[in-house]
């Protein structure tokens, strides 16, 4: 295990996979000689050349659509979306072409491609550059959607996504880029999807994604001081939405709280809550709780932004209100 940053973990996965398979290429804005605006592609251009590391014009529809064309003709493209917020400009290609092309072809076309989108709030980037993007694609059949919460997940999931034979959207989080953690470089490919328990506990189950995972773990520590032991899950994948282990946990803890960095309506927390309610109805001591962003865009001013992003304290308080 090496201690590296989330940013380095992404880069390591890209590097390793591109070395392994020369059908893999990456496209995005400023990812060539500049190494990417968030430096997640540093050195790729030098190592793999201009044909496999393609600086694109500002044309997300163009290069995301091109990823599909490459994928169905034998390559394994990766498209980097600089800010997840920009998924809006190529939304059609994702939901109407990429997600459906295999299905519409009667299962004859194969589309192994990865879209990496770097999102999230907390860095004062204001309303158009602070969304995680998770909810936008949540409802789209045909997509696999994953969201790494740590360097090790960023590394493992990206490798798994690149090897998967279907379109995967990887939501990364810019507030995590500089966080460090142990990464199993060269280790086995982890499962692409499904939740992972990060902390055991018997009193409440907390399920979170991306930057909310760390905050939930912090919340669990706060709760532990008050004698409440929370079990914390990283949801990891939003599509497919796999809740089996969470259901088992709730059968033990009888309390569920979801934490996401998005508005409540349309978020994945409702789906987890509904699935758990369905599968563990008789075990729930309280209705599932949800901690989310409020129902307006992310404000710029630091005190405002800080107050809308779920804090460990708010998460802990939400658990306390349930137990």
């Amino acid at each position: 295990m090496q201690e590296i940053t989330y940013r380095e973990a992404i880069l390591a996965a890209l590097q390793e996979e591109m070395r392994r398979d020369d059908k893999i290429l990456i496209m995005g804005e400023d990812i060539g000689p500049s190494g990417g605006p968030f430096k997640t592609c540093q050195g790729l251009y030098e190592e793999f050349g201009a044909a496999r590391v393609r600086d694109t014009p500002i044309a997300e529809t163009g290069f995301v659509g091109a990823a599909l064309g490459l994928a169905i003709t034998g390559y394994r493209p990766i498209a980097e979306i600089m800010f997840a917020d920009f998924l809006g400009v190529c939304f059609d290609q994702i939901v109407n072409s990429i997600a459906k092309h295999r299905f519409m072809s009667g299962g004859k076309v194969k589309a192994p491609l990865v879209i990496r989108a770097i999102g999230g709030a907390g860095l004062r980037f204001a309303a158009q550059h602070s969304q995680t993007g998770e909810s936008w694609l949540l409802s789209v059949p045909g997509l696999t959607i994953v969201c790494p919460s740590s360097p090790n997940e960023a590394y493992g999931m990206l490798r798994a996504a690149i090897r998967y034979d279907n379109p995967v959207v990887v939501f990364e989080h810019k507030a995590l880029l500089s966080t460090k953690g142990p990464v199993d470089i060269g280790g086995p490919i982890p499962p692409l999807t499904g939740p992972k328990m990060l902390r055991e506990g018997s009193d409440a189950t907390i399920v979170a994604s991306l930057a909310m995972v760390g905050r939930s773990l912090e919340a669990a520590e706060l709760l532990a001081k008050d004698g409440i032991e929370a079990e914390v899950f990283d949801i990891r994948s939003l599509r497919p939405m796999i809740t089996g282990p969470i259901v088992e946990s709730v059968k033990k803890t009888n309390i569920l709280l979801t934490v996401e960095e998005q508005a409540q309506v349309g978020g994945w927390g409702a789906e987890v809550a509904a699935q758990v309610t369905d599968a563990a109805f008789d075990y729930l001591d309280a209705p599932p709780g949800r901690v989310t962003l409020p129902d307006f865009p992310v404000p710029y001013s630091p005190p405002l932004e800080d107050s809308v992003i779920p804090s460990p304290e708010r998460i802990a308080a939400a658990v306390k209100a349930l137990v």
């Binding site: 290429l25 044909a51 393609r54 694109t56 014009p57 044309a59 529809t61 163009g62 290069f63 995301v64 659509g65 091109a66 990823a67 599909l68 064309g69 490459l70 994928a71 169905i72 003709t73 034998g74 390559y75 493209p77 059609d92 290609q93 109407n96 072409s97 092309h101 295999r102 299905f103 519409m104 072809s105 009667g106 299962g107 004859k108 076309v109 194969k110 589309a111 192994p112 059949p141 045909g142 034979d165 279907n166």
Partner: protein
């Protein structure tokens, strides 16, 4: 019509057509026409569901371009793509069966008329969102470029599609990356019920290409040999690494936009003028003049193709419906 061009001559010479080629081109146009007529008949009989977009009047584009493509080229198109599929050898029974929603359809009945796809024949997909296929074809063009075997990627779209963002991004990327992509615009003067002059600053879409400094040519899209020659030239450039081309084919659809459209918004004089320039009739006359064909021989070919499409359609209509209980949706959705 006189063709406009901004083509710089490619280094590679274009293979001249033989007599056999000419007859093959004629037959292909007839095949497409008869296929579409059979679709129409089937639609009225209730065999085709929802909607369908026919290409009668535009056959010279599909046939003339299709004759240029190699087996390993990639071809993308739209909901109005039946002709492009046939020109590339899509099995007609499979195509009809798809339109009829049967298991034997090229997409197992799951795709439908707007989404005929046959990746094994390089038919990479029919896109129902206007402009949606162009970026995908750009990607196939990157594949062609990376493979380094002189492949190309051709993408068909209408005049109306040149107004949407995806067109712009695709053209620009293809030019900047010097991709072997042929952008083949079938300018039939209408996007649905709206004439081009209401949606575009001019009617000669070759001018669009100027904005990308892209090699471009405008041809009479009802003259199959002109289409062939322009495409062959652009293809030679593409295969030689000289980059993309924009090929504007001036043409006209004989029928409405889709099956529910009587096309009353068109000036009868315009319709008449274009019907008089029916690409099949034009080519038949040209081949008769060349003594490659007689009226009778032409009729015989038409009859053969009609029978062929009829037979294919009948076989398709006899095929089973997908079974809702046993169909494996998971395998359709994920590899």
């Amino acid at each position: 019509m006189k063709a406009k061009t901004t083509t710089r001559t490619a280094k590679t010479k274009v293979k001249p057509l033989t007599d056999k080629d000419r007859l093959a081109l004629f037959r292909m146009m007839v095949r497409i026409r008869e296929f579409e007529e059979e679709v129409q008949r089937s639609y009225l009989e209730g065999l085709v569901h929802g909607t369908t977009h026919l290409c009668q009047g535009q056959e010279a584009v599909a046939a003339g371009t299709g004759f240029v493509f190699r087996d390993d080229d990639y071809v993308g198109y739209t909901y109005r793509g039946h002709g492009h599929c046939l020109a590339r050898g899509m099995d007609e029974e499979g195509a009809f069966a798809e339109l009829f929603g049967r298991t034997t359809g090229v997409c197992g009945g799951v795709g439908g008329s707007m989404h005929l796809t046959d990746i094994d024949k390089g038919l990479i997909g029919a896109f129902g969102i206007v402009g949606g296929g162009l970026p995908v074809s750009v990607g196939a063009g990157v594949t062609a470029q990376m493979n380094g075997r002189g492949q190309l990627s051709a993408t068909f779209f209408g005049d109306g599609a040149t107004n949407i963002g995806a067109f712009h991004e695709a053209m620009n990327i293809a030019q900047v990356w010097k991709l072997p992509v042929l952008f083949i615009c079938e300018n039939n003067l209408y996007g649905e019920f709206t004439r081009i002059n209401h949606s575009t600053p001019y009617e000669d879409l070759i001018r669009r290409a100027e904005g990308y400094a892209m090699n471009a040519v405008q041809v009479d899209g009802n003259d199959v040999e002109a289409v062939y020659a322009a495409t062959a030239e652009a293809a030679a450039r593409a295969r030689a690494g000289e980059g993309p081309s924009f090929i504007e084919c001036m043409t006209y659809r004989h029928r409405g936009h889709s099956r529910t459209d009587p096309a009353k918004y068109r000036d009868p004089k315009e319709v008449e003028a274009w019907l008089a320039r029916d690409p099949l009739k034009l080519y038949e006359a040209a081949l008769i003049k060349r003594k490659l064909l007689t009226r009778e021989k032409a009729e015989a070919i038409i009859a053969e193709e009609r029978a062929r499409q009829r037979a294919a359609s009948e076989r398709a209509a006899a095929a089973p419906w997908p079974d809702t209980d046993t169909i494996d949706y998971a395998a359709l959705t994920f590899a």
